[in-house]
């Protein structure tokens, strides 16, 4: 019995020694609320490549499935274990306030990325990510540009996760532009995690709204609307579609002409610049400032290049 336990211990220790150990200048943690989605692939690549350039170690962490409570646990663990700087996606306006304040008090710089908490007090030093309202504005303007909109045209604004602050802001940004143009709109929610249901729901929606001309998504459900149009036998351009993010379905619908364009928030930059800000603060005391990772409009002319970059992990 004792022998077996000893062997078990030795194996464990050996494994740990293999996994651990680093002699780099700084060690930064990037903490998110849901690690198990493909969205983070370019974020991680950006962070790691910044780390290689600067000679710092970067560790990406978070629960595989959406969980604020576990995100807090990861954040607290990284504070206790001597990370030199922390990047965090602030997915809940209340729950992360205290650990962030604790880190700052201990002298560990904290920068938020991807999602921020701008409306309630929070001690993070800066935010790296998209300005969501402006991104919504851009989508609205680009969608209406060079188009002849009939008098009684109606619009629908899609929000796949009602209550997600980032998406709510994008919707508000889109709606501002629609109001400016005197276009009547309403919101509709199609589930992002269940594409086949989403397509069916959107088919019913399109069929029951004869004046519908514009479908503006605050996420990538514009792709589902494109599939719905196709399945209903509609031609590309009969409805104006646009949305966010470079995901395979979206890219395909852009190529086929159903979706006019998508807006990319350039997640690679969110990882890269977060590490950059933390490094510059630790090394030279340069105080982190907000970085807008931009609104890159990707239409049929740029989609092939964007898809190639996405495959390489840059977009």
């Amino acid at each position: 019995m004792c022998k077996k336990v000893t062997i078990l211990l030795v194996v464990l220790v050996m494994l740990l020694v293999v996994f651990s150990g680093s002699a780099l200048a700084y060690k930064f943690a990037l903490v998110v609320h849901v690690a198990g989605t493909p969205f983070w692939t370019p974020v991680i690549k950006g962070a790691e490549e910044a780390g290689e350039l600067l000679g710092v170690e970067v560790q990406f962490m978070g629960p595989a499935e959406f969980s604020i409570e576990k995100e807090v646990d990861y954040l607290e663990s990284s504070i206790a274990q001597g990370f030199d700087g922390i990047g965090v996606a602030i997915a809940d306006a209340e729950a992360l306030d205290e650990p962030i304040a604790k880190a700052m008090k201990l002298g560990i710089p904290v920068v938020s990325f991807n999602v921020d908490d701008p409306y309630t007090p929070n001690e993070r030093m800066a935010f790296v990510g998209q300005s969501f309202t402006i991104a919504g504005n851009v989508l609205g303007r680009e969608l209406l540009k060079d188009e002849v909109i009939p008098e009684n045209a109606e619009a629908v604004v899609l929000i796949g996760e009602p209550g997600n602050a980032a998406l709510e802001e994008r919707c508000a940004g889109i709606e501002q532009i629609l109001v400016e143009h005197g276009i009547k709109s309403e919101r509709f929610s199609a589930p992002l995690a269940d594409p086949s249901t989403a397509v069916d729901m959107l088919k019913s929606y399109i069929r029951s709204h004869s004046n519908l001309k514009i479908v503006a998504a605050s996420e990538f459900s514009s792709a589902f609307a494109g599939v719905a149009m196709k399945e209903l036998g509609m031609k590309p351009g009969e409805l104006l579609l646009a949305g966010f993010d470079l995901v395979p379905d979206q890219n395909q619908m852009i190529k086929e002409g159903y979706v006019k364009f998508t807006i990319d928030q350039q997640p690679y930059l969110q990882g890269f610049q977060t590490v950059m800000l933390l490094y510059l603060y630790k090394e030279f005391g340069l105080y982190p400032t907000d970085i807008n990772t931009g609104v890159a409009v990707v239409g049929i002319d740029k989609i092939d290049q964007a898809v190639k970059l996405a495959e390489d992990g840059y977009r």
């Binding site: 019995m1 336990v5 078990l8 211990l9 464990l12 220790v13 494994l15 740990l16 020694v17 996994f19 651990s20 150990g21 680093s22 943690a29 690690a35 198990g36 170690e57 560790q59 990406f60 962490m61 978070g62 629960p63 595989a64 499935e65 959406f66 969980s67 604020i68 409570e69 576990k70 807090v72 646990d73 990861y74 607290e76 663990s77 990284s78 206790a80 274990q81 001597g82 809940d92 306006a93 209340e94 729950a95 306030d97 205290e98 996760e161 009602p162 209550g163």
Partner: protein, 319 residues
């Protein structure tokens, strides 16, 4: 009596898990010296607290021969009701907490009632209520996290810290473990739980009302799940509708790691507490090792199997 023989067995059940705790602690501290720092140890125990509180109830229920898969949903539902009563209907926070805890007892009663009276296996009955209770949370919250009072007396007592350092969650965890241990090992009701899960026919023959024992245990389990939910909600200051998802299986894993039998009649509260501690150690240690977070559940899976093998090995040796 059968019961007293079984009770002797409990004392040994925790040994496998204790070995695993020590092995992990040694290994992690060799990999990174900050693992054993007081601050990090507090975080590990705090991370284990909420799961440990739930798992204590789940262990009692498993000893009684039943499962409760709805604990993760109750963990979210009771604090959500409190948050809504408090923030939307201006009910005082204490009354709102009382209402949430009462609700938990009702939810536990429903679980027990369906299981015992309708004769549906608890695994299925509580699978159903797990989904129903979660749906109610989502309907109530509309998908949004809801703010809960974070500066009142009760929120500090349940989810605050002592001196800004020592989390109250740890004290509640220890308190629940002591109470559950006392119920199982020292009270007559503990004997009834063991008898109900160990040999139901014999239990009925000696005059134990097994239906009553089960329903009460279901209610106690729900109550602890809700209480763990408050510990978390008051610490974070908000209740998210997806809180506690996956806790039902994590709680069963903690119990099994700690030597509780899936077949009922045998279990150890101390083992369960150590089992919960292991999940905290692994979640914390994974950060420290710099291993991809996707390995986390894999590590836990290995520990579940190894701990159970050690437990079986020990119980064979003792025979």
């Amino acid at each position: 009596m059968v019961v007293s023989k079984l009770k002797k067995g409990f004392k040994l059940k925790g040994l496998g898990v204790l070995i695993a705790v020590i092995a992990l602690a040694v290994a992690f501290s060799i990999a990174n010296s900050s693992f054993l720092s007081p601050y990090n140890l507090l975080i590990i125990i705090r991370m284990a607290s909420e799961l440990g509180i739930i798992a204590a109830g789940v262990t009692l229920l498993m000893v009684a021969g039943e499962f409760d898969l709805s604990v993760g949903s109750v963990y979210a539902l009771s604090p959500m009701v409190t948050a809504i009563l408090y923030s939307k209907f201006n009910v005082s926070i204490i009354l709102a907490v009382m209402a949430g805890l009462m609700l938990a007892l009702v939810l536990g009663f429903i679980n027990g009632f369906i299981t015992t009276k309708a004769g549906i296996p608890s695994f299925i009955a509580t699978l159903g209520t797990m989904m129903i209770y979660r749906a109610i949370v989502l309907v109530l919250a509309g998908g949004m996290p809801i703010k809960i009072s974070s500066d009142s007396l009760i929120s500090n007592v349940i989810g605050g810290t002592i001196g800004g350092v020592f989390p109250a969650a740890i004290i509640w965890f220890l308190f629940v473990i002591v109470i559950s241990y006392y119920i199982l090992e020292c009270m007559d009701f503990g004997n009834r739980i063991c008898a109900t899960g160990g040999n139901k026919k014999a239990a009925i023959a000696v005059g134990i009302n097994t239906t009553r024992v089960k329903i009460i245990t279901f209610m106690f389990t729900s109550f602890l799940a809700a209480f763990a939910g408050y510990v978390q909600a008051f610490r974070l200051g908000s209740v998210a509708p997806l809180n506690g998802r996956g806790f039902e299986l994590a709680a069963i894993a903690s119990s099994v790691i700690g030597g509780t039998s899936l077949l009922g009649g045998v279990g150890s509260i101390i083992g369960t507490a150590l089992g919960a501690l292991i999940t905290g150690m692994i979640r914390n240690g994974i950060v420290l090792l710099g291993v991809s977070v996707y390995w986390q559940d894999g590590f836990l899976g290995v520990i579940v199997i190894v701990a159970v093998i050690i437990n079986i090995f020990i119980s064979k040796r003792r025979r």
